[in-house]
């Protein structure tokens, strides 16, 4: 017996309604299917755990103190005298320094995004929402800022001010907000013209409410993706500064500094370069896998 066309239509509609899921559930499902992104997230999770737990491990005596110098064991090979990954030119435990180094890298990577977010949002929203002269002024400003090579700017800043966590965070954030500002502006410009904004505006929404309730949530996906990709950039810049000797000062262990120290003694003890180098490389790789995964999950239009 033939089913009436109306009934079929209703059936289909019901099915669609039943399987409908929210943005975040959908994003999570898509993210989960990306094996590399999940692996990256797992690695980052482990790193975060390490960063939190390593002082505890030292207190429990499982891990050596990262700044303790064992002058009798200088440049120990991996496995020698209880140094699982060897020791450096001052006899400090490489494994311990490596684990402690994750604290600097992760905090730079993540906290810098916390500085970038308000700056980028404010400038991008202002330029995109108000348009006209404000837009023109702000965008010329970002254009000029964009022309300044980022590594050079960060180097100049830390050469002028004493390199410590604060100046390094500030300098890296100062060169990296431009990308976010441009993205937010672009998002706002395209969303602004949509019907639902017009509807909200004609029903009397004040500008601030419009921005917070409509513009922001609708551009959240690309913002999250941009910030995620910003994390490895910040980690990279901090590592370069440390490698060039103008970053966070010793004895605080950082990966960039460890590569430099190991590199100085590369002929005697090549492994002391390899471990921190791989730590930096794989951390950055993990973050860019997460970024790729999030981009596919949150922002299908940006997918390549």
């Amino acid at each position: 017996m033939a089913v009436p066309a109306v009934a079929v239509e209703q059936l289909v509609e019901w099915e669609v309604a039943e399987t409908q899921i929210g943005l975040w559930t959908d994003a999570w499902q898509r993210f989960r299917r990306n094996r590399l992104a999940v692996a990256g997230a797992a690695l980052v999770l482990i790193l975060v755990l390490i960063a939190f737990l390593c002082p505890l491990l030292v207190q429990l005596g499982i891990l050596q103190n990262p700044v303790k110098q064992n002058v009798q064991y200088i440049e120990a090979a991996p496995g020698q005298a209880g140094f699982l990954l060897g020791s450096d030119e001052l006899g400090r435990d490489t494994l311990s320094r490596l684990l402690f180094g994750s604290r600097i890298s992760l905090s730079v990577g993540i906290l810098v995004q916390g500085i970038i977010l308000p700056i980028g949002l404010a400038i991008g929203l202002a330029a995109g929402y108000f348009g006209g002269r404000i837009d023109n002024l702000l965008m010329r400003f970002t254009d000029i800022w964009y022309a300044f090579p980022d590594l050079l700017f960060v180097l100049v800043v830390v050469s002028v001010f004493k390199p410590n966590l604060l100046t390094i965070f500030g300098a890296i954030a100062l060169v990296n907000w431009v990308g976010l500002a441009r993205l937010v502006r672009g998002q706002v410009l395209s969303i602004k013209e949509k019907e639902f904004i017009e509807a909200a505006r004609s029903s009397g929404s004040p500008p601030l409410k419009l921005i917070i309730k409509h513009l922001l949530p609708n551009s959240l996906g690309p913002i999250i993706v941009t910030l995620t990709f910003g994390i490895p950039q910040a980690i990279f810049l901090e590592a370069v500064l440390s490698f060039l000797g103008v970053g966070i000062q010793p004895p605080t262990p950082t990966w960039g500094q460890m590569v430099f120290d190991g590199y100085e003694a590369v002929y005697a003890n090549p492994t002391s370069v390899v471990f921190p180098a791989l730590a930096i490389g794989f951390t950055l790789l993990a973050f860019s896998f997460i970024g790729d995964g999030l981009r596919d999950a949150l922002d299908p239009r940006m997918r390549r």
């Binding site: 254009d143 000029i144 964009y146 022309a147 300044f148 090579p149 980022d150 590594l151 050079l152 700017f153 180097l155 100049v156 800043v157 830390v158 050469s159 002028v160 001010f161 004493k162 060169v175 990296n176 431009v178 990308g179 941009t226 990709f229 910003g230 490895p232 950039q233 990279f236 590592a239 370069v240 490698f243 060039l244 000797g245 103008v246 960039g256 590569v259 190991g262 590199y263 590369v266 002929y267 090549p270 370069v273 390899v274 180098a277 930096i280 490389g281 950055l284 790789l285 973050f287 860019s288 970024g291 390549r304």
Partner: protein, 342 residues
Amino acid sequence: MAISEGRSGRGALLPLRMSQLAGSRGGSLAIFVGKRILWMVPIVFFVILITFVLMHLAPGSPWDRTGGRQLSQAVMNNLNIKYGLDKPETEQFKLYLWNVIHFDFGLSYQYEGKSVVTLIGGGWPYTATIGFLAFLLIVPVGISLGVVAALRQNTRVDYITMGFATFAASFPNFVIGALMVVVFSVVLYKATDGNFFLPSADFGLDSHLIMPVITLSLLPIAYTARLTRASTLDTIRQDFVRTAWAKGLPERLVVIRHILKNSLIPVVTTLGPTFAFLVTGSVIVETVFNIPGIGRAFVVAVSSRDYPMILGTTVLFSVIIAVANLVVDVAYVFIDPRVRLT
């Protein structure tokens, strides 16, 4: 040094604005080029201004020495007079701008009696040689990797190429450089009893160039390959390519005449960021391989607070990037007639 696409455009002057064009193409091209050249003036001005302000915000003076070798106040005063630091700051800034216009970047603080122009001139051959060789490597390798990956999309070739590109884009160049030294200079040296290795000490312009050039070019190669792949994938789905296949053209001709010709146009835009990579990359690569170029000189100047040298190199680097972007944007207009100018 981009880790992701987000960063790659840094150093770019202005994105091409493809809006409606009024008037004839020839006339507007001249206006476009003129505008872009004029736009470089405020850019360079602000780069100088920002760097200058930063330096004068700095606590302490460039003559501060750590340890027991602090100079006496009288000596510092004399040094301030010699280098013009006793004048008011606005005066110094005006003087500096005036001198820059006359191609005088002042005297270096760390090398007595040497001008910044001399020092930069001394490092220039090394930086330029390495940059030029890297560029020669980047363009063909990056493009062919991208095209091959796209033509063999979702095969092993594609996965390997793109996997390599992801690695090369994620691993920072100083890490790659250091790891290459470990493998090719240390491990290989020890394994072959010193018969076969790549040299990394005592820099010279011979086989010493191999590792720095590869280190410098890996990231731009990855970037170019990714972009070429994306652009080629776009092209091979176009109707005119299907037509070319359908009329029975041999693969070679379809690829060269129809696919390559069209998919390489957007790749030209990567040359701008590539220059930015090469310039900032030189700072890192020259430090890793101890090359006496401008990048290395910049790092040394930064750690010894040699302000005129820092200013001079920053200005030079910004101008190089700005000019490269200008050339790329103008070239783009010539290559792709569809581009509309502002």
